[in-house]
């Protein structure tokens, strides 16, 4: 009478201390419903079950425990997906060692002792101790599971001492219940599990009573459970009545991890590295129990010319199932040896060797981080509606985007533009470097002055834009888009190295905050703070603002006079607050992206990535003024010269329409059909109509004057839509 039980289907199953789930089931007279030769060693797939909601668990490897919920896998098909349950998140632990020994049998223990004696730090992993290795990755990194955690061991060397597994039979009837490997028979006998009359094929059990069958295995007989095994001798077939069959058909290296470590410092210890002795070629029956591949299917694919092991694997899926070829590989290699005349090497082994749960697979996986400016909490406290924009959280608006818009157009407003890409470049070769980098002359930029620049790739396509601001002969501040600066930094470093340029490049994006003071009263606001040496339009100057050391740039993205104040990021709250206080008499309020996107579109400013495509040249963007091929060589120049010689096929143009703005992405039609699509669209409060940018197909070399979007009339319009002379930005 057992006092401890687990549930198996609808039954309560008792167990003894030390029983695995499978041993307890067999002791209770319950055989795995899928049939097949039980190995009791974790090699085969014949005792798979669902344990506590996790499918594809080998019952022979799970210690029986009170309260376990075990469900048999169906004897055909796949187990049902478990009902969603709340589980603790699987965590991953990363360990570091000199040597990892996988398998702590006799050979593994000897290897561990050897390395420890040499003063090396060794970590041993053995499935029998509950730490089952699932894979070896370059590093090497050995990944194991222990049921609660995923363990990643980073090491210098791996020793695989996983031994060998018993070869499974291939013959008609291998799916019957009551077949066991010889080691399983002995283990069950020692555990006191009664199997009934046993007939042994090949190597006999050492302890379990049995009858030894003579001859070669032909087939197993029975309905669901084996009742007899048939062998062939010189005298013909012979039937052996039985309740169980013990199969001692030889051993095959358990070498999947060894093969997985190919090219890495992974070595074998013990029998896993022994030369393999293949079984006789199979003639009938199932070769791969995981994928249900029979000898007949091997005949079929090999008959069609798939004679290489890797092709047989891919065409039949033999070796791709739960056991990853441990069962079928010796038979398939033996089969191909006979058919092709040469023994193929085992197929490539890749992680994972064991199935992981979804939770285990994503252990410690984290989404990428999103940046917050140092004003983030102030924006939130001020009612800012925050959202991700590129890699940053940014305020979309503060409750009234229209009021924010008008503050910029008619008064003064501030915006947190800390997300702007910012770099400093210096060095003896910096002028030549930037000349090659940018398609517009850099030499003509005087100290204290700025210039708008495009960045072109080798194909002449625009991938970023920003400003080049010269500080002195050999020092520049460069700006980039918020999303593009990381790539731009890599781009610059790569080219500096490729060209052998002596330059220093420092990305300051995350180190410097930036606040844009914009609007017709922006200068009044700053002058009220005692700043009387503000830079002129397209100029910049280092100065203190409210006691904060700052680099002030006179630029304009909004179309109004603007001062972009770069400063140490930890001083942003102080500067923000000072600007709000000083701006109170001017009615200053902050504005968010919602207003900014309208303001910039009224000026016709593009946003790289939104208004551009992968093949957007400056000419297609109507930005030819920003590219000067005559200045000499620069990145993309050759492509610019070639594409300039081709007739223009499409262009980004300004468009207007009455009424509300259509969705960005809305398709544009001309008289002949599809023309392009809208990249940016906003209703302009100032112009009282919708303004847009969109890609348009040229007809007879011209942009059509009218198009249709959502069955509404669209007119071509020049950009900027607002203040085309730029007098307000320069004011």
């Amino acid at each position: 009478m057992f006092v401890t039980t687990f549930r198996y289907g609808s039954e309560q199953v008792g167990f003894r201390s030390g029983d695995s789930v499978l041993v307890a089931l067999l002791r209770a007279g319950i055989r795995p419903p899928t049939g097949g030769t039980v190995c009791l060693a974790g090699d085969c797939v014949h005792c798979l079950c669902t344990v506590d909601g996790v499918a594809y668990v080998r019952a022979c490897q799970v210690p029986a425990a009170e309260g376990l919920e075990v469900e048999p896998h169906p004897d055909d098909g796949r187990p049902l997906l478990p009902q969603p349950v709340s589980r603790p998140e699987t965590v991953m632990r990363n360990l570091h060692a000199d040597v990892v020994v996988i398998g702590l049998g006799e050979a593994g223990r000897a290897a561990r002792d050897h390395h420890e004696a040499a003063g090396r730090m060794v970590i041993g992993l053995d499935a029998r101790d509950g730490r089952e290795v699932a894979g070896i990755y370059p590093g090497p990194l050995v990944v194991a599971r222990d049921g609660r955690e995923i363990i990643g061991v980073h090491c210098e060397e791996v020793v695989v001492a996983t031994g060998s597994s018993e070869i499974q039979p291939v013959a008609p009837g291998t799916g019957l219940i009551g077949l066991y490997t010889v080691d399983a028979v002995d283990a069950l006998h020692q555990a006191g599990v009664e199997l009934g009359p046993i007939v042994a094929i090949g190597r006999p059990p050492t302890t379990a009573p049995h009858r030894l069958a003579e001859g070669e295995l032909v087939r197993f007989e029975g309905e669901d459970t084996v009742t007899a095994v048939v062998t062939r001798t010189d005298g013909g077939e012979q039937k052996w009545e039985c309740a169980a069959v013990s199969l001692g058909l030889g051993r095959y290296p358990r070498d999947i991890l060894l093969r997985m470590g190919s090219g890495m410092p992974v070595t074998a210890a013990g029998s896993v590295g022994d030369p393999t002795e293949l079984p006789p070629p199979p003639v009938a029956g199932v070769v791969c129990p995981c994928s249900g591949v029979s000898v007949e299917q091997l005949d079929s694919v090999v008959g069609r010319g798939f004679e290489e092991l890797e092709l047989v694997k891919r065409s039949t899926l033999a070796g791709t199932g739960t056991c990853q070829g441990q069962t079928c590989l010796p038979h398939v290699r033996s089969y191909l040896t006979e058919r092709v005349g040469a023994t193929p090497a085992p197929f490539t082994a890749r992680p994972l060797a064991r199935q992981l749960t979804i939770s285990e697979t994503i252990a410690n996986y984290r989404l990428p981080g999103f940046f917050k400016t140092s004003l983030d909490s102030i924006h939130r406290q001020s009612g800012g509606v925050m959202d991700r924009f590129g890699p940053w959280y940014r305020p979309w608006h503060y409750g009234d985007p229209l009021a924010e818009y008008w503050a910029v157009r008619s008064g003064v407003s501030i915006m947190d533009v800390s997300t702007l890409g910012k770099m400093i470049v210096t060095g003896p070769d910096v002028n030549e470097f930037l000349e090659r980098l940018y398609p517009t002359p850099v030499a003509t930029i005087e100290p204290g002055r700025c210039k708008y620049v495009l960045m072109l790739n080798e194909k002449g396509a625009v991938f970023d834009d920003g400003m080049v601001c010269r500080e002195d002969d050999h020092r520049f501040t460069l700006t980039f888009t918020s999303s593009g600066v990381s790539f731009a930094e890599m781009w610059m470093r790569d080219w500096a190295e490729a060209w052998g340029m002596d330059v220093r490049i420092l990305n300051r994006t995350a180190s410097l905050g930036a606040i844009n003071v914009t609007g017709p009263r922006s200068q009044d606001l700053l002058e009220s703070m005692g700043l009387d040496l503000l830079p002129p339009f397209l100029g910049h100057r280092r100065m203190e603002v409210a006691g904060v050391p700052a680099h002030v740039f006179r630029l304009s993205f909004t179309g109004e006079a603007s001062y972009e104040i770069h400063h140490p990021i930890d001083r942003s709250p102080r500067l923000w607050q000072a600007l709000l206080e000083a701006g109170d008499p001017f009615g200053v309020i902050p504005h968010g992206l919602e207003a900014l996107l309208t303001l910039r579109l009224e000026k016709g400013h593009i946003i790289v990535g939104q208004d551009t495509e992968a093949d957007s040249t400056a000419r297609r963007l109507d930005h030819e003024w920003a590219v000067k091929p005559e200045k000499g060589d620069f990145l993309g120049r050759q492509a610019v010269l070639r594409t300039d010689a081709i007739e223009l096929d499409r262009q980004l143009v300004g468009l207007t329409m009455e009424g509300p703005a259509p969705d960005e992405g809305t398709v544009l039609h001309d008289d002949e059909g599809l023309s392009g699509y809208v990249t940016s669209a906003r209703y302009s409060p100032t112009l009282e109509r919708t303004v847009m940018l969109g890609w348009v197909r040229l007809v007879d070399g011209e942009v059509p004057d009218t198009l249709r979007a959502d069955d509404r009339l669209v007119h071509r319009a020049g950009t900027p839509f607002y203040d085309p002379e730029g007098s307000r930005a320069r004011a």
Binding site: H154, G369, F370, K372, R504, R508, R571
Partner: protein, 125 residues
């Protein structure tokens, strides 16, 4: 992990050889981010042979000192990399974010870009 606070210092981008040979201020901590990139924590004169070096005020990192065992335990559960020898910087993704660690005896300085400091604190809460 205790709360992160802004760590102020100097950011230096210079020729690697110049950084290798630099005379750092006494008592300063040198966080070598890359061969050409140093975050220097500590005041005092700096002797650097590269006249084109960029030396700027740096306030873009947040950090905290923790004990070496706490750092090792934290890395074990959040990173695939371990601590570097004393005085050297180990860096990589930890809890999904780029983190740097400078070991100094029984203490370790954990550094993260301030723009990710809130995120790191939330992930470790």
């Amino acid at each position: 992990m205790p709360g992160l606070e802004t760590v102020v210092g100097r950011r230096i981008n210079a020729l690697p050889a110049a950084l290798d040979a630099a005379n750092w201020p006494a008592g300063a901590r040198v966080v070598r981010i890359a061969p050409d990139d140093v975050f220097l924590i500590g005041d005092g004169p700096l002797e650097l042979s590269d006249r084109h070096a960029i030396v700027d005020h740096e306030a873009g990192f947040s950090g905290v000192w923790i004990t070496r065992p706490d750092a090792a335990d934290w890395l074990e559960r959040n990173a695939v990399w371990g601590l570097a020898p004393d005085g050297e910087v180990a860096q990589g993704m930890a809890a999904g974010l780029p983190v740097k660690m400078l070991a100094d005896g029984q203490e370790v300085l954990v550094l993260v870009a301030s723009v990710l400091a809130d995120d790191l604190e939330e992930r470790l809460a």
